[in-house]
């Protein structure tokens, strides 16, 4: 547990979260959400929760990204607001 590394990953996580909220293109938001999940996975692994990191990597970064891409392709790509 290195707190400098924790802080660095946390800053990237917050940047990804803000970008995913603010971006207009929904497909880009899905990809940024995937990056967010992967950074969260790094954070879990760095803090010692390897099992949680494993679940985060497999569920959030893989399967939910696929589901979101499927939903975007079935509806619309541009956000209205």
């Amino acid at each position: 547990m290195i707190w400098q590394l924790d802080l660095l990953i946390l800053v990237f996580v917050i940047i990804c979260a803000l970008a995913a909220i603010n971006i207009k293109d929904l497909l880009s938001a899905v990809i940024i959400l995937g990056a967010y999940s992967f950074l969260m996975c790094l954070l879990w692994a760095e803090m010692g929760a390897v099992d949680v990191a494993f679940t985060e990597a497999s569920v959030a970064a893989a399967v939910s990204t696929i589901l979101f891409v499927g939903a975007v392709l079935k509806t619309t790509r541009r956000s209205k607001d």
């Binding site: 990191a53 494993f54 679940t55 893989a62 399967v63 939903a71 392709l73 079935k74 619309t76």
Partner: protein, 168 residues
Amino acid sequence: MLTKIYENLIVKTICRIMIPFIQIYALYVIAHGHYSPGGGFQGGVILAAALALIFLAYGQEPVVRRLTPNLALSLCGIGVFIYAGTGLLCLLSGGNFLDYARLAPILGVAIPRARSLGIFGVEIGVGLAVMTAMYSIIIDVAGNSASPDRHAASSSPENLNNNAEPAA
């Protein structure tokens, strides 16, 4: 819809190389669930992700031909049955639910070995159930066999332009 866009030789070849390794890794994660990180849930999700990769690269037809949605739901039930059956077997042998030590006389092995085998059986059940449930969700969300009127309503001109971009 999803299948028409990404008919791509590079994607197909990379998927063909990657998918066996992904599936072997998923089986490794399931089989080593009781002494390393991972387990039935994570391994099942990785197996479902491998199926989704085939689905993205080759389209819906080859995946659905091998594992139809009805068969997937049946396997999901069988997975839950394996999990609950292991627990009920312990219950019937006079122990608590999932008390693997009671499986030792049935399996004919020592108690630590019976605990290991009992957890392994539960992991297999959970992996099967999670894989098929995730597969059913992916087919329902991303498959092109959804209701045709909803499909037609979603293909607005703006949406068609967006879909034409990657193919150009």
